[in-house]
């Protein structure tokens, strides 16, 4: 039990030292901060009117504002995550191209494999670090920006499904691109092919004609529309869970396939 953990730690330290030097993490954090805080501060939108008439029940207005603020909170988080999904569709293939494909292409992977950690652990660490970095940064900035800038009490449970959807999307994007990197052994093919597949998926997902296709190909958008109560998407909660679950299963299958191919690959 102790040995795999120390192998994991050794690979983690090596990957952090090589691929996550300044300004990779800081750049990602800065980019998503601008996005999340920009949306939460609502720089261009007009504000809501307020009317307290004599003799009326102000308590009703209090209930209205509580719901309004809750909706604004939900809207801010989901808008940030939907836009983040498009940025990630471009960034994740770049990160995998530089981290995995370029290491294979320029032989750096041979040096990494001289560590007694094993190929499986090496690929797992590389892939999971990209998942963790992208997932944590997007979740953190969207929640922090909304909590800081939107007043009143906020129900974190309402944004849980959107956050879960972005994590599943990040996993899918990372594991698909990792498979392309292993198959192509080329950074250019990984970056272009990975981004092409991700944007292709999101474009197909934009169509709301077949709700299950919409949820499967663009999970963050579909889940966000669902939690916001958008009438344009006619989908049930069960369909959403099934489609997002299917995407998660496919992502895991892609990871297993990547690991299996990487173990047999000539480097």
């Amino acid at each position: 039990m102790h040995e795999p953990f120390s192998k994991f730690k050794a690979d983690l330290r090596m990957d952090l030292a090589i691929f996550y030097r300044f300004p990779v993490l800081e750049g990602l954090l800065g980019l998503f901060m601008v996005l999340a805080f920009g949306i939460a501060s609502n720089p261009t939108g007009t504000d809501s009117g307020i009317s307290l008439t004599n003799g009326s029940d102000w308590g009703e207005l209090f209930t209205y504002y509580n719901e309004y603020v809750q909706h604004q909170f939900l809207l801010t988080v989901t808008t940030t995550l939907v836009l983040a999904q498009f940025i990630l569709a471009f960034l994740i293939p770049m990160m995998i191209a530089f981290n995995i494909a370029m290491s294979i292409q320029n032989g750096l992977i041979q040096t990494a494999l001289t560590y007694p950690t094993g190929r499986r652990m090496l690929l797992l660490v590389k892939s999971l670090l990209v998942v963790l970095t992208c997932g944590l940064i997007t979740t953190l900035v969207s929640v922090v920006a909304s909590y800081t800038l939107i007043p009143g009490s906020k129900d974190l449970a309402t944004i849980f499904s959107s956050i879960a959807a972005i994590w599943v999307y990040v996993m899918f994007a990372v594991f698909t691109t990792a498979l392309i990197a292993i198959l192509s052994k080329s950074a250019a093919v990984t970056a272009v092919g990975g981004a092409g597949i991700q944007f292709g998926f999101l474009l197909i997902g934009m169509s709301t004609q077949i709700p299950s296709v919409h949820v499967f190909f663009s999970p963050v958008t579909a889940v966000s529309e669902f939690v916001l109560g958008n009438a344009a998407i006619q989908v049930t909660a069960y369909e959403i869970v099934a489609m997002v679950g299917a995407l998660l299963c496919i992502s895991l299958v892609l990871l297993i396939a990547s690991v299996a191919l990487f173990e047999r690959m000539d480097v």
Partner: protein, 165 residues
């Protein structure tokens, strides 16, 4: 690269990001409302910095109140502004124009009510200017902190180098 220098650079990147957010679009909008005596009408202003307010009536006297979101919702629960603490309170004025300084980003309620027993037509204009201080000031502060941390680590590195040479 040593840890302090990365902390310094991270603070600088976060500071720059906040300054970029503070420079987001300039906005101006307005509304006209008829308000009867005893009623309070206005705008719930969502802002991350100071904003300019211009209120015009046809020479009728009115009162103006500015309060935080928490204060206005607390007043809604008890149906009165009696115990509410105001950020700005003006009485017996026929017009108002001025910059309202806000350092903490958030929502603020701007309310007007006629002073006399009459109905007044109000023109309210809000202009949110750049930079938004709620982001700009913390951004500059973080850049300053980051620069200090960076300088400290450079000085440490120079001292170590001089000791070894």
């Amino acid at each position: 690269m040593t840890m302090p220098s990365r902390v310094g650079k991270t603070l600088i990147v976060i500071g720059v990001s906040l300054i970029i957010v503070s420079l987001f679009a300039w906005t101006s909008y307005g509304e006209s409302v008829d308000v009867s005596h005893g009623d309070y009408e206005g705008i719930m202003v969502k802002t991350s910095g100071s904003f300019y307010v211009e209120i015009n009536t046809r020479d009728r006297n009115f009162s103006l109140f500015l309060m935080t979101y928490d204060e206005v919702t607390a007043a809604m629960r008890v149906d009165t502004f009696e115990n509410a603490s105001m950020l700005l309170e003006e009485h017996n004025i026929a017009s108002f124009s001025g910059l309202i300084h806000i350092l903490i980003p958030g929502w603020y309620a701007l309310l007007v009510t006629p002073q006399e027993n009459e109905t007044i037509s109000f023109d309210i204009q809000i202009t949110k200017s750049m930079p938004r201080e709620g982001f700009f000031v913390p951004g500059v502060f973080l850049i300053g902190m980051g620069t200090l941390v960076q300088l400290e680590s450079i000085l440490k590195w120079t001292r170590t180098k001089m000791k070894h040479s």
